[in-house]
């Protein structure tokens, strides 16, 4: 397999970050080794729930407006890669929660929201698989992309009424991040590394979609 420049940078960043996370970052005083899952969990959530989903939303709106097949390819590629990252979030979360909270799953607001975003991604991808016509597939999935993004605040609001026990974000909050410096550097670099990984996978998936569409057209 041939790697693009972006691919090599992304892989190096991921390897470097997780070597640092495993061997050169101290254990958390309270949570012990389980805390290290954070370096996978938090940046995956950033990529899957915010970056990828946001990109699906924006490209879906633009597709309905401009009808450019490129936008549909970006939206569907982003959904597919975002689905993988969201799955990582859903797997790593319980692994961390069992030793720390004492239960794999709780119906906490953030967990529920993540689960439902995963369902929306899944519905989006299954819908695409059920339509052959390119133009109709692009339109229908754009509709789901837009509705799904509008649903997020409502899921958030409705589950907010169950009190949340999820740790508040450690990085993106107004006061200074509450974490030792060494851990913080690892966490920040994991965000950068997984963002790069997302960009690379998105690009590869996009190029695959271009090939696939060309093949479909040559075949018909």
């Amino acid at each position: 397999m041939k790697f693009s420049k972006l691919g090599i940078i992304a892989i190096l960043a991921v390897v470097g970050t997780y070597v640092r996370a495993i061997f050169f970052t101290p254990f958390d005083a309270l949570q012990g080794p389980a805390q290290k899952i954070l370096y996978v969990h938090a940046p995956s959530a950033w990529v899957g729930l915010y970056l990828a989903f946001g990109l699906v939303f924006i490209t879906s709106i633009l597709y309905l407006w401009l009808k450019d097949p490129k936008l549909d390819r970006v939206a569907s590629s982003s959904a597919e890669v975002g689905f993988v990252f969201t799955s990582v979030v859903l797997v790593t979360g319980p692994l961390w929660a069992k030793p720390v909270w004492g239960a794999y799953w709780t119906w906490d607001a953030r967990l529920t929201l993540t689960l439902f975003l995963w369902f929306i991604y899944a519905g989006y991808l299954i819908l695409r698989g059920a339509i052959d016509d390119f133009e109709m597939r692009a339109r229908f999935s754009a509709v789901i992309g837009i509705l799904g993004a509008l649903l997020v605040p409502f899921i958030h609001l409705s589950v907010y009424f169950f009190r949340t026990m999820h740790p508040m974000p450690v990085l993106l909050k107004p006061s200074a991040p509450s974490m030792p410096r060494e851990m913080l550097i690892t966490l920040v670099s994991s965000f950068l590394a997984l963002t790069l990984l997302f960009a690379w996978l998105l690009r590869e998936r996009y190029l695959l979609a271009v090939d696939r569409d060309a093949a479909t057209e040559a075949g018909s």
Partner: protein, 242 residues
């Protein structure tokens, strides 16, 4: 049939194109029909006939080119759709409703002024008043097609688009349908009819076209060549050309 400005014509099209992805289903069609004209449209499956009809009926947006219905440019939205009637091999009727209920519903959708009276009139005109209050599911195919035509013309459209209306009809049903369409043509409607039934279409129409790969490969107006000659032409143009 020649290219001419839109005034006085029921239907015109100039270089009409519709693409699906990179495939051009309709690839540069031009035509014009005056009131009382009837165009028969022949061609193999996938030639773009249905796509052309759906564009003229306001159901699909043209990718490029111009078309007008009674001088209103496409896509003209509701204004264009109000002037067109649609018939196809699918009856487009609701099985659980009676013939009358189906036609009345259509009349309401078209904003017809006196729904009951208009429905009664059109059912009578098509000889469907004897079974007007029977549910469509218990009618024969020929009766259903009668109701379907009544549904399509209850708002007195000036253009009637018919997509393979003879499919599923026996010889008697087909000639009855031809009679109904001839009556409409004589009352001044322009008709475009897509079909594989050369006999019925040639007896009805004032012009005939053969469509292939999104284009007209032949267009004849009156006098259309005799039936046998035209059948040979059609075979040659639609089967061998690949």
């Amino acid at each position: 049939m020649t290219l001419a400005p839109a005034e006085g014509f029921s239907v015109t099209a100039t270089d009409l194109v519709r693409s699906f992805g990179s495939r051009r289903a309709v690839n540069g069609v031009s035509l014009s029909l005056a009131p009382g004209d009837c165009l028969a449209l022949f061609g193999p499956n996938g030639a773009g006939k249905t796509t052309l009809l759906r564009m003229l009926g306001g159901l699909l947006r043209p990718t490029s080119g111009q078309a007008t219905i009674e001088g209103v440019a496409l896509p003209g939205g509701a204004e264009v759709r109000a002037r067109v009637g649609l018939v196809s091999h699918q009856t487009m009727l609701y099985d659980a409703l009676t013939a009358r209920e189906n036609v009345e519903f259509a009349a309401r959708m078209y904003g017809v002024a006196d729904v009951r009276q208009a429905t009664q009139r059109v059912l009578q005109r098509l000889g469907a008043d004897s079974f007007a209050d029977v549910r469509v599911q218990s009618l024969s195919r020929g009766m259903q097609q009668r109701v379907s035509v009544a549904r399509a013309i209850v708002h007195e459209p000036s253009v009637l688009l018919a997509d393979e209306p003879f499919t599923g009809l026996d010889a008697g049903g087909a000639s009855a349908l031809t009679g109904m369409l001839a009556g409409l043509r004589d009352s001044g409607a322009a008709i475009i009819i897509v079909t594989h039934n050369l006999d019925e279409a040639l007896s009805l129409c004032t012009a005939a076209a053969i469509m292939r790969d999104g284009r007209f490969v032949r267009l004849d107006s009156t006098p259309i060549p005799a039936r046998d000659e035209y059948t040979a032409l059609y075979r040659e143009l639609s089967v061998d050309a690949s």
